[in-house]
């Protein structure tokens, strides 16, 4: 599973343009490394969202992952990037 995870990710260009579009100041730039690391963070973020949603669906005995499963795990997911949390790592194992 680890090898498959390595191939899929966000393109450097996409992240670069995306972040730049959100900067408040024109002069703010991004180093190549920073772009790659943010791409990595987003990849993990999306994977966490997917894995947690699946576990939620599984716990409710559903065959498909529906939006309500995602909505249930979203508060903790959003909070895990902003608060003390060791649990943000289900997708990293």
């Amino acid at each position: 599973m680890a090898e498959k995870n390595e191939d899929i990710g966000f393109k450097k260009d996409t992240i670069s343009k995306l972040l730049s579009s959100f900067f408040k100041e024109d002069k703010t730039r991004l180093s190549g490394d920073a772009v790659l690391l943010v791409a990595e963070m987003l990849k993990v973020f999306v994977r966490e969202a997917a894995v947690r949603s699946q576990k939620q669906a599984a716990s409710e005995d559903c065959d498909q992952v529906d939006i309500e499963h995602f909505e249930k795990i979203l508060p903790q997911l959003a909070g895990s990037v902003d608060s003390q949390s060791r649990r943000f790592g289900e997708a990293l194992e």
Binding site: L19, F23, D26, V35, L37, V65, F88, G89
Partner: protein
């Protein structure tokens, strides 16, 4: 970006034999997009605080600081990137200052 998202969803779905509804895929994509805004604002603030106009890997490490697992993962990734540079003999300055706001 949506292609990468669909592939990720498909891949993860296969492992647990559970597909994602299209609505869910869209919602996750939307949330990731919004998270980018949060990251960008924080990164810009950290760089400015350090009196830099270029966001670097130290700034990214700071936004990952609140989750132990994520911090470790990003730290490891940083080391990987540094290792690659050493082995290919790339000059670090080549990558900086190249990205710019369009």
């Amino acid at each position: 970006m949506s292609d990468d998202k669909d592939e990720t969803q498909q891949m993860t779905g296969e492992d647990h034999r559970r597909g994602f509804s299209r609505q869910t895929v869209a919602a996750i994509a939307e949330t990731a997009f919004r998270q980018c805004d949060v990251f960008a604002k924080d990164l810009e603030a950290f760089a400015r605080h350090a009196k830099r106009s270029t966001v670097n890997s130290e700034d990214v490490k700071l936004i990952a600081r609140r989750s132990t697992a994520l911090s470790i993962h990003i730290q490891r990734k940083t080391e990987e990137l540094n290792q690659e540079k050493k082995s290919t003999g790339k000059r670090k300055s080549r990558d900086t200052e190249e990205e710019s706001k369009e």
